[in-house]
Symmetry: C2
Subunit: 319 residues, 2 copies
């Protein structure tokens, strides 16, 4: 069994996890990226430098590589590519290549932070209040429903890029004039949690839910985290998964506030903090392989130790 | 020979380099940090969790550890600790423990970005213009000597924390009201270079100068870099080292502009980008050990290959 990882970037450990499991089955991991200096390329069994995902030839290039390397399944590690690949799911699958990505509508809901909010609100799942219209913000500021500071961020961004804290009405108006496609949220001062779920592709239910509190962030990614096991959070996530119906690995960000947990973001892919789940034996890579073999995984919802800390640090590669 | 690394933080590779070299001599590396989750602690031969550097008992704690582990030399990896340890150099050395840090005046000049600028200017070394007084900025804006955008940053900061781009007079005045101890510089759009030097502690001259262009930054650190060998930059660095008289490992940041190189920052310690020099055979760790044995190092100024790329990626540790 051979798996193609698209936009592998700097996610070396994840590529290594795939290599480890696939090599046991005489399979291979092939990594692609548009940047030849992407570190993860250099840790796969094979790699190829491909066009940018917005180039017209990109999909044909992936198809040719699926053919060249006898690929059984494809997945991507970056948000903007998920919607693209989700749109070609049937085309790839008719050629015998499974695309390990949620359906297009799920991907779209997750990619756009305002759609995410609307989806959560419509399903009675507590969410961070999110606005696209300054008039609505002004109304809720007046009502006392929200207060400064506010956070302004791109409607479809990731990795904390382009996020600004706004402390006054004047500042907010400046953003109104300057920015397009932004959303506005109240600044939530609660602790941040990240939840890694695996939604089994055979039995269509969550087989793994791994919860962690984020201790420190670095470059928009979890740098240190500690495993937790809170039934209230688990229940919220189960409700979300039932409503959203994603497949494969997904990553959900939450805040813990005095009023309970609020969902802030859903990434329908391996999250940057997945390494913690994996290192504690929640091996989604093996789950994917089991599913690709047509078998369901055992449910292992919260069978892990609380209070275990994961810390990231730098390694290097020279070429 | 045993070496104590203070404020080891997340600098795992550096601790591993020390371990590798010291273990060959039956020596050990001992790492300390105030944070038990500091990843580098867990890669040393021994580690200890110590008080914060601003606690009154800190220095006594270090002295006790020097005794406990028969330490021959001490160094620190963070800027705020350099000045502290430089002040206790003689005290430690009279107890037989070498402190691998430049003299206190050198450390102070490097720690304060305005003192750095004054030093460079006084020694006719091209530097990024730096202001502490808004009146001076206004005068030079009027003269046409500088222009917006400007950069406002803490006078003694590091890792790009608290850096703001300022696009207008109004914004600048807002910072004047809000901030203390900041400096103002014009925004330089040139490419960034990092230079790792080793100044031999026996022969008191630069034995290694390794130059790299920074390709991408992440969390205020060089994430990707490419080795370069530019005689103009080398000459500038040699002039700086002769004037400043630092010792041991130092790291210098520069911009390349149409008018030539400008020095922007000097860190009299192992820089975050040192890994590139080391991986290419510029082994400052071995240089330190040689010096501690009372021997000078061979000069190896620019004996390395141009165009070699170093890329960082994440590894993890669980505890």
């Amino acid at each position: 069994m051979n798996i193609l990882i698209c936009s592998a970037g700097r996610r070396v450990k994840l590529v290594q996890y795939f290599k480890e499991e696939l090599n046991k089955l005489n399979g291979k991991v092939i990594a692609v990226d548009c940047d030849p200096t992407a570190a993860a390329l250099h840790h796969a069994d094979h790699y190829e430098v491909v066009p940018r995902i917005n180039q017209p030839e990109y999909i044909d290039c992936l198809k040719a590589l699926c053919n060249k390397y006898k690929i059984n399944a494809v997945l991507s590690l970056i948000d903007p590519e998920l919607a693209l690949l989700a749109g070609y799911k049937e085309e790839f699958e008719s050629a015998g290549v499974k695309v390990i990505i949620s359906n297009r509508d799920v991907v779209n809901v997750c990619f756009d932070k305002y759609l995410t909010y609307q989806f959560l609100r419509d399903h009675q799942i507590p969410a961070v209040p999110t606005y696209t219209e300054i008039q609505e913000v002004l109304k809720d500021l007046e009502n006392g429903d929200i207060d400064f500071p506010l956070i302004v961020k791109p409607q479809t961004g990731s990795a904390s890029i382009g996020i600004h804290k706004v402390d006054s009405l004047n500042e907010l108006r400046r953003y109104e004039a300057e920015q397009n496609n932004f959303i506005i949220q109240p600044f939530i001062s609660g602790e941040e949690y990240g939840v890694d779920c695996y939604i089994d592709m055979v039995k269509s239910e969550a087989t793994h839910i791994f919860m962690k509190r984020k201790i420190t962030m670095r470059a928009g990614e979890t740098d240190k985290s500690i495993s937790v096991n809170d039934p209230a959070l688990k229940q919220l996530i189960e409700k979300l998964v039932l409503a959203l119906k994603p497949v494969g690995p997904i990553d959900i960000d939450c805040f813990k506030t005095e009023e309970g947990y609020l969902v802030s973001e859903i990434n329908p892919r391996f999250g940057g903090g997945y390494l913690h789940a994996h290192e504690m034996g929640f091996n989604f890579v093996m789950s994917i392989i089991t599913n690709l073999q047509g078998k369901p995984n055992d449910t292992k919802i919260n069978d892990y130790k609380e209070g275990t800390t994961l810390v990231k640090f730098d390694n290097v590669i020279l070429f």
